[in-house]
Symmetry: C2
């Protein structure tokens, strides 16, 4: 009924659309970050605003010398200053995407979350979205939150649903199937997230989240394997056909993220949302393929300022 | 340094050892249970004590007629009575393994947990262990708890470590590498299980759990992918080489269980422990291959009464 898309196709669409997004990078010192930037430049996917301190200056200048038309370098005194400057470039509308280089994530997040100079959307909550290409699944799978919110409240679950369905609509068409993940189908006071899920199911029925299908509580197998839903007699359109998995807590989300990577040969892309522009904060252990996919996802879902 | 074993090899060892375990089955009515029993009989792996009520009588008699030397049938009036009788057969030493047929798990558990007539080990806690053959992993991986204890306390984590390492020792040799799973390497008051982990790491250093290696908090990737631990500079012998994963909560454990099955093509075997004999409680959505593996694991780790 609808097209989902892989990262390769996303990259090609970005290229042919010709709307190069402008990416502000805080402290682009390490090899992985450099590799991702060079590849994006070669493929004509984005322009870069590199914010360097003394230690990342050589790397930044090196990149600019190779592609001076598409790279600008700014110089700041230390890591904290690079984070603030990169954030300010997004705030001023000079950049469409923010990307972390060799920087402690906390340092970047402090600048992002800053009440006065940060880039949080009004009234929103910071959250993390991952998109995964898993060989054993028929389409791109979005999930959240594997990295930021430890135990979402009902309101935070609603924000997460809004963020993930927004991303879905930018890269797919059709009605997103959202699965609310738990270990059984039971709603129970013992598991407060299932109480949130019940509230969300009720509100989804009242059309509170626009045109989406929501199902749950259900486990990962019921959400992604049609056979399992049938055996259990679950008739939800989400069962066996999920586009988006909402996890009850950060441990469960993180386990999913790491397990599909290690045992499912998945290629993942991650970014932060709740901000006025997507923020790419790949971690040290991510492959450079995964970091490149994250940048593609961020550029494909960013609004042109 | 040591041999781990797959389910196929375990089955062959059981066969050649010739010590057929005796399995009490409560209400063996459904096709899957029947299939598993028939296959075990054909391969000469176990003897069966089938406890049937009116609705499962025909199935039980059918199995007995095919293999009268290795099958005994008991008749009870309803599902609750079949559960009690099957448990009593374990308690009296007539059976080495307990297996659930077509029965609500709660009904069987009530009989298992019964203070007077149940089969809990003294002072122990009921928990669930899964063993997984994952094509992308080099050895059998044990993990817990994906099905019973929602949020283990420090004491319950210690019981889970004892159960999983006991099972490991029965089917492998060498020192088990136990990974305490979290989403980062940080110990934090915000995540009470990481406080338990710190206590466990300390006690492991004092040799409280025998000859085992424990590492954590660490994520699934660090535990099972050698490259990731190296990048993060983690020197634990557990990193990249885990035999056992201990999950912080039931949601995370269950997500791992379902994810390796759906996306990692894993074959899993599960059983309950903390009881005087292993209890097989496969769920409706498990494949019959998985149910058969569960029975093999239970028989291979059961003590002969």
């Amino acid at each position: 009924m609808y097209t989902t898309i892989d990262f390769q196709t996303l990259a090609e669409q970005l290229k042919t659309a010709g709307t190069r997004r402008r990416v502000a990078v805080a402290r682009p010192g390490d090899e992985h970050t450099k590799e991702v930037i060079m590849r994006s430049l070669q493929e004509g996917l984005a322009d870069f605003l590199l914010v360097a301190d003394e230690q990342s200056r050589e790397a930044a200048d090196g990149i600019m010398n190779i592609s001076p038309r598409h790279v600008t370098v700014f110089y700041e005194k230390d890591d904290v200053a690079t984070a603030r400057k990169a954030v300010s470039l997004v705030k001023s509308g000079d950049a469409d995407v923010l990307m972390k280089g060799t920087l402690n994530t906390d340092v970047l997040l402090r600048a992002v979350l800053d009440k006065e100079n940060g880039i949080m959307e009004k009234g929103s909550v910071l959250s993390h979205i991952t998109a995964a290409e898993i060989p054993a699944y028929k389409k791109l799978l979005l999930f959240s939150d594997a990295a930021v919110i430890p135990r979402p409240t009902t309101e935070q679950f609603e924000a997460i649903i809004r963020y993930t369905t927004d991303v879905f609509r930018k890269i797919s068409n059709g009605i997103p199937n959202v699965a609310l993940i738990h270990c059984t189908e039971k709603t129970s006071e013992k598991f407060t997230h299932t109480i949130s899920y019940a509230e969300i199911m009720k509100r989804a029925g009242e059309n509170a989240y626009g045109n989406i299908s929501v199902g749950g509580p259900m486990d990962v197998k019921t959400a992604c394997d049609a056979e399992s839903g049938k055996i259990k007699g679950i008739s939800s359109p989400v069962a066996g056909n999920a586009d988006i998995l909402i996890f009850p807590n950060i441990e469960a989300g993180n386990v999913f993220y790491k397990t599909i990577t290690v045992f499912g040969n998945a290629l993942t892309a991650g970014m932060l949302c709740g901000t006025t522009a997507p923020v790419v904060v790949a971690s040290r252990a991510d492959s450079s393929e995964s970091k490149f996919s994250s940048l593609i996802l961020a550029c494909a879902t960013a609004d042109k300022k």
